[in-house]
């Protein structure tokens, strides 16, 4: 439990030792804080206590019965014994009961070796069992709940953590308990399993081998696994996880209780998507295009080929695009290579977003002011989420908002064109038109400017307001409600998502709202919500045409779009793409491909044969996050370490070594040689990162006293970010019914997750999502096969209908290979419009 700092302190005696704790601390927390272990099954700090497993019973002086320490708060003067003989007998008794009907099939149980029941019986248990009756069995064979979850109820200890995590944290309410007494089983009805988000948090919290991960089944014993503590490479939430391998294959990823902001939770792609590193399609050797064909070469050949072809070019003729999934160290070296060695200002990390939008977004969200912890944001009176489909884009942030908003009194306001799971935790939902963030924010700003609230909002009928209400599609009532909540709050946290980068007009409103709230004396925190693991790090390492490392002033260069335009005109001789798939991410695939074909010398460094790589002159095989060391900066501005677990396949190299090799071919002193030395240089050169430490692992305990503010980066010294004005986003001019919204699907992140066999098994084929109203008007229903027809592209996919989504918005995720969303886009024509037609 996080302390508020204002609670009264009380003194209690635990096992004779006097300790002082905050009033209302649970006995369990107090005892654990004082160093006394109390065993539990059903207790989990992030879930509401139910006190049902009875493992944590303790003796309180003056009370006849033993009390469950996980739901009993301390009282001043209480004297507690956590280890008396009565307590020990009770624990052994509970364990004897738990074993009575337990399957005892430990030799074939995946959990064997890391099972809490085993460990506890070993430590506290009766070493002789008295139960000699027939056992109750739920079923003979394990049953598969989903492509990733398999279940054996005979091993269940009924702690109900699975049910509670599903309800309280994930918010999906798939699991519940059926039956009574020893027939009680945490499970669900078939139709509810259809709603499962496959995040496997039920597996993670299960103390025994009841819920198990199917992809890992019978692959290894836990003691044969080698693990490394790392960061999820998908969205920018920055979840800490342990990835584990055996014989060179990554077998599983798991979260750890109390570690990282995600604690024990992960989403589907984080938990099950890491197997993309095992994909046999990985590129394993450098390739050079000769006579139109890519042929394997040695690294020396490849590097010298690059050196020869880049030598003699002026900086303006060269461009560099690096993926926001590379580490800070790699990105820092990349920009050092581009700016320092090749003398080129043309460098970018965003293929989808314009450099101006990025600069505006960085300024409006105040990224240069240093890191903001998500838990600090959750202390605010109002959390305002806008510009992101949080439940799909950053599922773990969705979990945090759900859990904390249920536990404390706060407002949650969500503005989004699409309905999302988190809406059920929101006090106000502002359902607005696509790309109308600015209008939404403007209505709120007008509302807040109407002076004192009570008399209030009566001036809200002026023309400007009406225009913005119309543009946003909001009702005046919902805006009034949001305004009332924001006005009454002392502190406001704004979660601003990537839609601001797609439709940058809203950035203006975001900046104004932030300043307005500050001028009213409110504490304001803005959290950028990003969808690539190291997007923030990429910007802060200066992989951007408008600013250098730490948002410093540099010679301005071309962004991705500018480079492609220059290539079209034949002005860009060479382009070095590290990890990005420009052809499948740039919103106009035809343009990107033909521009790339005009680049005389295209270097592509990637794990897989991407669309870009096929067009490249040199292909360099890079490494995944599991094969390298380094740091990622998440959206909060928290620099966290990733650690090497595997060796990159074949001759593939860590990206940092490839970049350095290219640099060294021009300048022998290019370096530093080791990622840790690069980080040292970053610490020196980028003051924001001066305190980033490799020792930090975000695990808070009594010894290190780390809290969630530690490891956040500092404010930049003199940021040079300009926030310009942005034109309103237009929709394409065609008669089609829907405007096309894009983003990430819940099961995917960009294209790298498409290489995960497990994730591909969760969802077959592309899906398009529209509101149920639209669907019924078109005579369509959930699950129909439809054709999504745009002006210049159409594809077949499955229809998903969503209750509450704005009418006229069709969502197509950017992740599907078979329906590349960027083919719907045409440069300069605005947001695509599509029709959805049922296929017969």
């Amino acid at each position: 439990m996080r302390g508020t700092g204002y609670a009264e302190m009380v003194t209690v005696k635990i096992n004779g030792k006097e300790i002082t704790v905050e009033d209302n601390t649970l006995i369990l927390d107090a005892a654990r804080g004082a160093g006394y272990e109390i065993p539990t099954f059903c207790y989990q700090a992030d879930l509401m206590g139910i006190g049902s497993c009875r493992m944590c019973l303790v003796e309180i002086e003056g009370q006849k019965k033993l009390q469950p320490s996980c739901v009993t708060p301390v009282l001043h003067g209480m004297s507690i014994n956590t280890d008396s003989s009565t307590v020990q007998t009770a624990r052994a008794g509970v364990l004897e009961f738990l074993l009575a009907n337990h399957a005892m099939d430990c030799p074939v149980c995946d959990k064997g070796g890391e099972c809490e029941l085993q460990d506890m019986v070993h430590k506290h248990g009766p070493h002789k069992g008295r139960h000699a009756e027939p056992k109750f069995k739920f079923h003979e064979k394990d049953y598969t709940l989903s492509p990733v979850i398999i279940k054996n109820s005979n091993r269940c200890v009924q702690c109900m953590k699975c049910v509670r995590v599903c309800r309280e944290v994930v918010g999906q309410n798939v699991l519940g308990a059926l039956g009574r007494g020893d027939h009680q089983e945490p499970t669900s009805f078939f139709k509810h399993f259809m709603n499962c988000e496959m995040d496997g948090n039920c597996i993670e919290v299960c103390p025994v081998g009841c819920f198990m991960r199917l992809p890992y089944r019978y692959k290894s014993r836990p003691w044969d696994l080698k693990g490394s503590d790392t960061i999820c490479p998908f969205c920018a939430t920055g979840c800490r996880m342990v990835i584990e391998e055996r014989d060179g294959a990554l077998l599983r990823a798991k979260a750890q209780l109390g570690v990282g902001l995600n604690s024990e939770t992960l989403c589907a792609r984080g938990r099950f998507g890491q197997d993309f590193v095992n994909n046999p399609e990985r590129i394993t050797q450098p390739l050079i295009k000769r006579y139109g064909k890519l042929e394997p070469v040695t690294w020396e050949e490849a590097i010298s080929h690059i050196n020869v072809n880049l030598s003699g070019l002026s900086g303006e003729q060269i461009g560099g695009i690096a993926s926001p999934r590379l580490t800070n160290e790699e990105l820092y070296l990349f920009q050092k290579l581009m700016r320092g060695v090749l003398d080129s200002p043309n460098i970018d990390s965003s293929v989808r977003f314009s450099p101006e939008a990025v600069e505006g977004f960085v300024a409006a969200t105040g990224m240069a002011e240093g890191g903001v912890s998500v838990y600090d944001c959750m202390d605010a009176d109002t959390v305002f989420i806008i510009g992101t489909h949080l439940s799909d884009e950053n599922p773990v942030i969705d979990y945090i908002v759900r859990r904390i908003s249920a536990a404390r009194r706060m407002n949650v306001i969500i503005a989004s064109p699409r309905a999302m799971k988190l809406d059920s935790s929101a006090n106000t939902v502002l359902r607005h038109n696509l790309a109308s963030e600015n209008a939404v924010l403007t209505t709120i700003i007008i509302g807040l400017n109407e002076g004192k609230l009570g008399e209030a909002l009566k001036g809200m009928h002026d023309a400007q307001l009406d225009a913005n209400l119309k543009a946003s599609g909001l009702s005046a009532d919902s805006v009034k409600d949001a305004v009332k909540r924001i006005a009454a709050s002392e502190s406001v946290a704004i979660f601003a998502g990537t839609d601001f980068l797609r439709y940058p007009e809203g950035i203006t409103g975001l900046g104004i709202l932030k300043d307005l709230l500050k001028s009213r004396g409110k504490k304001v925190k803005v959290m950028p919500v990003l969808d690539r693991a190291n997007q923030r790090g990429a910007w802060e390492m200066g992989v951007h045409p408008g600013f250098g490392p730490g948002y410093t002033q540099v010679r301005k260069g071309l962004g991705t779009e500018g480079m492609l335009e220059a290539a079209m005109k034949g002005e860009l001789e060479a382009l070095y793409i590290a990890g990005s798939d420009v052809a499948s991410m740039y919103p106009d695939e035809d343009f990107a491909k033909s521009a790339l074909s005009k680049v005389k010398f295209l270097i592509v460094q990637d794990m897989f044969m991407s669309e870009c790589a096929r067009q490249a002159n040199v292909v360099l095989p890079g490494a995944s996050h599991a094969e390298k060391d380094g740091t990622f900066t998440n959206q909060e501005g928290r620099a966290q370490i990733i650690k090497k677990l595997l060796t990159a396949p074949g001759k593939a190299k860590q990206d940092i070594n490839i970049i350095r090799a290219i640099g060294e071919s021009f300048d022998r002193s290019f370096g530093p040689k080791h990622f840790a030395l690069v980080l040292d240089e970053i610490r020196k050169e980028v003051p924001m990162y001066s305190e980033v430490s490799l020792a930090f692992n975000n695990k808070r305990n009594t010894e290190n006293k780390l809290d969630n503010r530690t490891a956040l980066i500092k404010a930049a010294e003199a940021p040079s970010i300009s926030s310009g004005q942005f034109a309103a986003a237009r929709a394409e001019e065609s008669g089609a019914r829907f405007v096309l919204a894009t983003g990430n699907h819940l099961f995917h992140s960009g294209r790298s997750s498409r290489k995960s066999e497990t994730l591909l098994g969760l969802l077959k084929g592309a899906v398009v999502e529209i509101s149920d109203t639209d669907a019924s008007e078109l005579g369509l229903k959930n699950g129909d096969k439809v054709r999504v027809k745009g002006t210049n592209f159409e594809a077949q996919m499955t229809l998903i209908t969503k209750k509450g989504t704005m009418r006229g918005v069709a969502f197509l995720a950017e992740n599907f290979d078979e329906a590349p969303v960027n083919r719907y886009f045409r440069r300069g024509k605005g947001i695509p419009r599509v029709d959805i037609i049922k296929t017969i």
Binding site: S52, K65, V94, F97, L98, G181, D182, Q184
Partner: protein, 421 residues
């Protein structure tokens, strides 16, 4: 014979209609109460010494006084009519034959604690009772005893019948609240107690049918009348529901503290069969430990029974003659508890079925040496460690049998047959 209070209308034709109820002086107490200050009503109930008839015997007036006085706060009254303890059938008598007495009692209680809504959580199997209650509530609305601005007093009250979901645990007060809210009936952790955070998190009083039915009489006749009846510490009329080997089983309304001897041999006409003398009796539903003929002079009230190591519980007296096999009886009672265990906490969920399996073996002649020690051991591991009193009840019943009839269990194990038959 005392003048009957609770069962006065039992067996009278048409006693459930509002016309007959009013003709018999019904709803006068409510009208009187509406002119009183709520605090004074609570004080009257406190003074009367009324203790909850559901089993725990907690002072009703005291329970009401825990409810916050803030008039802006939503409060609830719940009537626990989930009568499910084997042997108990007293509330049914009131619900079926005198529903208006309950409704009047609830209306007065709601007024006293400031509850604008009340729920009658009735056992799911009591279809007739639920229909009758609904009918009676409709009549009360029509006559203006429920609804808006009752009798011009400005007091609004709505009453609902909520049929239960078929589990014994629904009768546990916090599980009952969960059940009304639409969740799985499993007990909640206490504290917070329902008086502070009950139904939908609002202050809630939960009282038994019989308790609430005492209220109109207390208002009408005064607390002194009530407190003078029966023993000083637990006064008032009490319905004893007698079943088993007696000549005249049934419901008996007697002053609290009537002795078992008086009840069995006088009111119930003695043992059923000549030559089969009393072997044991359970004084308060199956979770109350049984007593033997040597305790026949015990007064059936809260404190006297507690002193004997048993409890009054719901006042369901089960009488057993010498033909009764204590092993079989223990097995059946235990089977009930293990079947009804809600599954929430480990000792009850996994302990009670284990007891049942061992008892079943003994009963079927498959007992093993050491089984009795095993039973004692399992009981020790359940008792006092469960989440709610269900597990404790199971253990108390078994312990009572083991204490008084251990040799009979041993005989079953040793001889693979019954001693009693």
């Amino acid at each position: 014979m005392m003048e009957k209070v609770l069962l006065k209308n039992l067996g009278k034709a048409g006693s459930h209609t509002i016309a007959n109820y009013i003709a018999g002086g019904g709803y006068k107490a409510f009208t009187t109460a509406l002119k009183m200050k709520p605090d004074n009503i609570i004080q009257m109930v406190k003074d009367s010494g009324l203790r909850g008839r559901g089993g725990a015997g907690f002072s009703t007036g005291l329970k009401w006084s825990f409810i916050p006085k803030d008039p802006t706060m939503q409060k609830f009254l719940c009537c626990n009519a989930d009568e499910g303890e084997p042997g108990t059938f007293k509330d049914r008598g009131i619900i079926d034959h005198d529903p208006h007495m309950l409704i009047e009692g609830m209306a007065i209680s709601s007024y006293a604690i400031g509850a604008s809504k009340s729920y009658i959580y009735i056992r799911g199997e009591f279809v007739f009772g639920a229909e009758r209650l609904q009918q009676a509530i409709d009549e009360a609305y029509a006559k203006g005893f429920l609804g808006k601005n009752i009798q011009g007093s400005g007091f609004d009250h709505d009453m609902f019948v909520h049929r239960g979901f078929g589990a014994y645990i629904c009768g546990e007060e916090t599980a009952l609240l969960e059940s009304i809210e639409g969740y799985r009936a499993q007990p909640r952790k206490k504290p917070p107690f329902p008086a502070l955070a009950g139904l939908y998190g609002k202050p809630t009083v939960i009282n038994n049918v019989e308790t609430l039915s005492c209220i109109p009489a207390i208002i009408e006749k005064g607390p002194e009348w009530f407190s003078k009846m029966g023993p000083e510490k637990s006064p008032g009329p009490k319905i004893y529901g007698v079943s088993g080997h007696v000549k005249k089983p049934g419901l008996y309304e007697l002053p609290m503290g009537t002795t078992a001897k008086d009840l069995i041999y006088n009111h119930c006409g003695g043992m059923l069969r000549d030559g089969k003398p009393l072997k044991a009796f359970i004084p308060g539903g199956v979770s109350a430990p049984m007593l033997t003929p040597k305790d026949i002079d015990t007064a059936l009230d809260f404190d006297s029974l507690a002193a004997k190591g048993s409890m009054l519980g719901s006042g369901a007296v089960i009488v057993m003659d010498s033909s009764t096999c204590m092993v079989k009886m223990s097995y059946i009672i235990n089977r009930f508890f293990s079947h009804e265990s809600c599954g929430k906490c480990t000792p009850c969920r996994d302990g009670t079925p284990w007891l049942t399996k061992v008892l079943k073996r003994i009963e079927y002649g498959e007992g093993r040496p050491g089984d009795l020690d095993l039973l004692d051991g399992i009981c020790d591991n359940i008792f006092g460690r469960t989440f709610c009193p269900l597990g404790d009840g199971a253990v108390m019943a078994l312990r009572g049998a083991l204490k008084n009839f251990r040799e009979e269990f041993q005989y079953h194990i040793d001889h693979k047959r019954c001693m009693a038959s």
